[in-house]
Amino acid sequence: MTPFNRNFGQGGTRKAISPDMNWRELTKAGNIYEPGNSASYETGDWRTIRPVWNKDRCIHCLICWRYCPDASIISTDGKFDSFDYKHCKGCGICAKVCPVHAIDMFSEDEIDRQEEASKNEK
């Protein structure tokens, strides 16, 4: 038997694959056994502008959900629920396609500054 651990990625005791693993520990041929595991990779820090939901205006038409390239509009029971800021890249398409202007885009820097300021006030 070769030492290569071919059950890796299928058993119950696996750990997340990381670049410090040797060739025996990685999955065979680079196969990925966890469908949709890119959810654990965050692209939210790419964002320079942030969509913010205006609850009062939203009519829950979910056009934003339809047009999000990053599946970052979370809906519950057919209604807008929240933004997935872990993955939202801030492309601004949702704000643009919203028929009732219920999404506003804010500069991340500006939001950071405001958060900093409010922290200092406290």
Binding site: S38, A39, L62, Y67, G78
Partner: protein
Amino acid sequence: MATLKELAKVEERFVGGHRLCAGCGHGISVRMVLNAAEDANVVVGCATGCLEVASTIYPYTAWNCSFIHSAFENAGATISGVEAAYKSLKKQGKIDKDFKFVAFGGDGGTYDIGFQSLSGAMERGHNIVYVCLDNEAYMNTGIQRSSATPMGADTTTSPAGKVVPGKQQPRKDLTAIMAAHNIPYAAQTAISNWQDVHRKAKKAFDVEGPAFINILSPCPRGWRYNTPDIVELVKKAVETRFWPMYEVENGKWKLNYKPKKYVPIEEFLKPQGRFRHLFAPGNEHVIKAIQKEVDERWLALLERCGETPELPPK
């Protein structure tokens, strides 16, 4: 037609955490297409390209279903093999679940290098859906012209220079070529009309035999427009008749949308950096040539679809 409220309840098959650029048309198109497969088991095949490299960076996959990529020019052949395996194993009782098969390729992997493989797969009649995500150039390698690049476009291998004003040739009409394979279903659609994309994707999954869908899938970097304006821009492609929405079902051509009024091609060209040079003095003839091409193709399409021919205003 299902409502968005219903469709949003379908399990997401192309999840966040992929590395496509912010605002990439591919993310939108792929989500729309896979959403139409509803709760079926799906195997996705993919040609090398932006979508593939951005969605499967080891050890992460954005595909919430089985997925295979093998090379650039062979998404058609690879997914045929998967489908043949399914038929064989099903027939022998080695598997019991039902599956649907879809392959995605960019215009490079579909119009050009993967053209033969796609043609073969369509001709052999596999029960597959092939979706071309047409962003009109080789974007993954840095915006080189393809046979899908429109005339006049400035790309890195058809640069707008002092003597040559961008790409010299008009686009290849791939959707018509696919329809000429006499497959059960070939269609062209645009994300500006999500209902149209959904309906066509659903039909493509439902028909017995091969189906082909061509989706205009803008690239913010390659086309150089304001990223959030994607839907508006695609709408302009449809309204100017540059990208007509039509379908060919069992040999019957049908126009799905007829713009109410004549919108000149400049409306589509103007917001895009790749066409900026065409608006400089001396390049008017290129815009004229693009318009002529669009008008002629529109007329030919109307005729194929049995619509009343309309002449462009003088």
